[in-house]
């Protein structure tokens, strides 16, 4: 019952947030209308619903934390442009896009820069109606703002995922505490609190049976140690890499789970941001290659027991490419899985507005709410599985890459045999303690 009620509340909040957002994002890209005509207020009835831009807006990073309707939490903004210096402040100084500050404007919750050097410094009121101060050009490819009767072109957005989703290289650097950064800090804080309590429980309780939070996390911890780190890295070296594997696993897990919560503390698409997964994969790349032993490099660069021409033309190029492809596949896998999950859920919620013709048809909207709601609940359960699975896969593959780098090749087969035979016995020993 409680689950049903909280599910309903989640759904209502989501629908509320989206309906307020639908007006914001209600512009079409067919390029027939004039820019001003397609920019209508949040409750404008002529606004058409564009599912693609709404979804892209929701999975992207933002410089403010949108709560519902007109309410959003301002976040610190730290911007730097070469030859222009730093601009700092809170994202509320942009007044949801109505004000330009030092040549920066907010577009869809994201800070953009006006490339034109003739644009005045300081706070400038922009011309526009309702909530639309950034206009799109006829072809939908570029955006501009109006100030003092003049048009000023906007630069592309700056973040990396913006570049992937059709943005581009920009003229400024955004070091802001964005929505994703805030969520990552929250995830780190949560992990510090949870594991701080668990470790103090171990100190206090000693060898007694675990209880509470400790009892909840011990099976997960033991699972990662005995099913991921030990068999993949090997008996001899696994303890050295256990903290890294654990940190990666729990950080990804908490970020994934926070992303599934549809309202404030969660809702941001952290592990579905390619910049975040790139850094995680890069860490795995560094750890793997800096801990690689002689055998690893020998097998990578000059595989023994293979004719030299095979090595020179096939094996070595492939292996060297493999050094990079492995972390890149980690990066893409996590990013694409989480982003795909968010896109599916947002599409299902978007059905409400597609069926409801953006407010024109109440019956259609109700049908969309029932169908989309049920499918969203179903997808959320699948995403819960995916959240665990992707954290596990990332940790597992990282461990196997590290394992391949530190493996002792002299007694390769023996090591594996002992791993498998002693795994069960070790777990029993732990259980007895």
């Amino acid at each position: 019952m409680r689950i049903a009620i909280s599910g309903l509340i989640c759904l209502l909040v989501l629908v509320g947030g989206l309906s307020a957002q639908a007006g914001h994002d209600g512009h079409d890209h067919d390029g027939h209308d004039h820019p001003v005509e397609k920019d209508s207020g949040a409750h404008g009835e002529e606004a058409t619903y564009d599912p693609v831009s709404t979804i892209m807006h929701h999975i992207a990073d933002a410089n403010e934390f949108h709560l519902f309707g007109e309410v959003s939490i301002p976040l610190p903004v730290i911007l730097y442009a070469p030859g222009h210096g730093f601009t700092t402040g809170l994202s509320s100084m942009f007044h949801h896009g109505a004000t330009a500050v030092d040549g920066y404007v907010m577009n869809h919750g994201r800070v953009n820069r006006i490339a034109d050097a003739s644009f005045p410094e300081g706070h400038v009121d922009l011309e526009g109606e309702g909530h639309h101060f950034v206009h799109e050009s006829e072809d939908g490819e570029s955006a501009y703002v109006m100030a003092g009767g003049k048009q000023y072109m906007l630069d592309k957005p700056s973040t990396l995922d913006g570049g992937l989703m059709g943005g581009g290289i920009t003229s400024f650097y955004d070091f802001s505490i964005t929505k994703n950064v805030l969520t990552m800090m929250l995830a780190a804080l949560l992990l510090f609190i949870i594991f701080g309590r668990v470790s103090s429980a171990y100190k206090k309780r000693g060898d007694n049976a675990p209880s509470g939070l400790q009892g909840f996390l011990e099976p997960v911890f033991v699972f990662i140690r005995d099913e991921v780190a030990r068999p993949m890295i090997g008996e001899k070296h696994y303890e050295r890499f256990l903290p890294f594997i654990m940190s990666i696993f729990f950080f990804i897990l908490v970020c994934n789970l926070l992303g599934l919560i549809p309202f404030f503390p969660g809702s941001s698409n952290v592990t579905g941001n390619i910049g975040v997964t790139m850094v995680l994969a890069f860490l795995v790349f560094l750890v793997t290659n800096f801990s690689g032993n002689k055998h690893y490099w020998e097998h990578t660069l000059w595989m023994p027991g293979v004719p030299w021409w095979v090595k020179l033309f096939v094996l070595t190029p492939v292996e060297v490419l493999g050094l990079v492809i492995k972390p890149v596949s980690l990066m893409i896998r996590l990013f694409a899985n989480i982003t795909a999950g968010h896109i599916i859920i947002l599409s299902l919620i978007g059905l409400i507005f597609v069926f409801g013709n953006n407010g024109a048809s109440v019956g259609g909207a109700a049908t969309g709410a029932v169908v989309g709601g049920l499918f969203t609940a179903f997808m959320n359960l699948i995403e819960l599985l995916v959240a665990f699975l992707q954290a596990f896969i990332f940790a597992m593959l990282s461990a196997s890459y590290i394992g391949a780098a530190v493996e002792d090749h002299d007694h390769h087969d023996e090591d594996h045999a002992t791993d498998h035979h002693h795994g069960g016995a070790y777990a029993e020993k732990v259980a007895h303690h």
Binding site: I332, A336, I393
Partner: protein
């Protein structure tokens, strides 16, 4: 075009994951005591297959963007 590509990629991944699932259940039925190891191998392989499909989906997104 992006949607068509994503559909074809999903087809390939479906065949791949289906094969993995069928072989894994078969081997678990043959040797139930090895089900833990089989499950781990199954999940890793499924993730690799899925990774290939997701590469295609990212390319589809790029093509549409």
């Amino acid at each position: 075009m992006g949607a068509l590509g994503a559909g074809i990629a999903a087809l390939g991944a479906g065949i791949g994951v289906g094969l993995i699932g069928s072989k894994a259940t078969e081997s678990i039925a043959r040797q139930p005591e090895a089900s833990g190891d089989i499950r781990t191998a199954m999940i890793i392989t499924a993730a690799l297959v899925e990774g290939a499909a997701l590469f295609a989906i990212v390319v589809g997104l790029l093509a549409n963007g």
